[in-house]
Amino acid sequence: MKKMLCTLLALTMLFLLAACGQQGAAGEAGDLAYVKDKGTLIVGITDFAPMDYRGDDGSWIGFDADLARAFAASLGVEAEFLEIDWDNKLLELNDKNIDCVWNGMTLTEEVLSSMGCSEPYWNNAQVVVLKKELAAEVKDVESLSSLRVAVEAGSAGQAAAEEAGLSITALLTQADALMEVEAGTSDACVIDLSMARAMTGEGTSYADLVYELSLTEEVYGVGFRQDSELVAAYNDFYAKAWADGTVQAIAETYDVADFVIG
């Protein structure tokens, strides 16, 4: 009897916990004031070159990191970077552990419906990465059908690969998907063009990998809490920074000018 009671109690507590999480998801007024009050804009990121990655001195650099600092400065606050588990980005955002998700985030249906999203600032594609010797055999989507394809779970790459009818394995991150190809445990992976460009070919750890064939085109945006005034503040900032050439200058620094859009 006692044990049953305990089990029931445990169940109730778990449900309460889940309920709390969902309440937190509701948008709140005064997000801009909240950020200005505490003096920091906490930016949720993952290690994802060329958007956010560690420079030689250990601090976060990259196109998104530099732009995030500029945006924080325009609000008169400090930008702080917090590495998160990408799967839990919505949870982190709604729990106010971070104030925005800013890490080459593809604006998918799910993201658009669960976050307050900025205007798109980046054009991207989902590309197929594979070993050089295999690349010659791959001409079109049909020739991929016999391959084992790795993707990041819940990513735009997974959606694109499923759309194309490929046989996929879902991994935790895009970096894991790349490692699968290198280890030969998968034949190919579908990841962001920006990441494929930065992490494959000469001078990288994946010198024997190449990217071919883009499956879909997509755009990146910055995610804030739903109904946050930060969205409008960001869009204003970006329009100005684009007009005065700040955005283009940062893009030049990281050799990504082809991707950025105004």
């Binding site: 044990k3 949870l91 280890a183 445990t185």
Partner: protein, 219 residues
């Protein structure tokens, strides 16, 4: 929605259970072998076993999973696991068996060395062979002594199964988390806790009964 979630969680839980059962089946006998090796009078064997146990206990299980699964392909250029779900599962199960066998071996060693020397000597006086003494006198007493520490490891194993998702074996927590990724629904992740709690609760009861049943011979 609730039914969809439960179905996904059940399939994940089944995968976790498979890892759990295979690990116990493999690691208990292998652990006994390793413990005998670590007590061997043949020095090279003894130190080889101790070295292996040190490495396995001294590194995270998650790292071992990554090394075992990706190591062959990246370091040796030959991925012998195959890429399919079966290869991933095999690699995960073997890593778990070996890892837990190392922990078990130390528990066995403690149990065996803890049996009073008088028990052995009594066996010798009665004219039993070394083999008979080990299996009929020592081992039975060892089993009784090691049930609580082994039970500890068994409960830990329930939760450690959640690590296999790093090599894309889709166990319980992966399934729970997939609802956040796919549709922004958070509660399934927390709800996986109910599965872990109920299962470890059941194990606690079973282990308690086992302990009671072994209580008939007091040492």
């Amino acid at each position: 929605m609730f039914i969809t979630v439960l179905r996904a969680l059940n399939s994940g839980f089944l995968r976790s259970l498979e890892i759990f059962a295979l690990t116990l089946l493999g690691a208990l006998p292998l652990g006994l072998l390793l413990s005998l090796g670590s007590m061997s009078r043949f020095r090279p064997l003894k130190y080889a076993v101790k070295l292996v146990v040190w490495i396995v206990r001294g590194t995270p299980l998650m790292l071992q999973l990554l090394v075992v699964y990706y190591g062959p392909g990246i370091l040796l250029g030959d991925n012998w696991w195959g890429g399919g779900a079966a290869g991933r599962f095999t690699a995960a199960a073997l890593t778990f068996i070996f890892n837990y066998a190392c922990y078990f071996s130390e528990i066995f060693r403690g149990g065996i060395e803890g049996v009073p020397a008088g028990q052995r000597e009594a066996g010798q006086v009665l004219g039993l062979t070394n083999r008979q003494i080990f299996f009929r006198v020592t081992l039975l007493q060892v089993v009784k002594r090691i049930v609580p520490p082994i039970g500890n490891e068994v409960i830990t194993l329930v939760k450690d199964t959640s690590l296999v998702r790093v090599i894309a074996v889709y166990e319980l927590m992966w399934e729970g988390q997939s609802f956040i990724k796919a549709s922004g629904i958070i509660w399934p992740l927390f709800f996986t806790g109910v599965y872990y709690l109920l299962f470890s609760g059941l194990l606690t009861v079973l282990l308690g009964r086992l302990e009671k049943r072994l209580g008939y011979f007091k040492v």
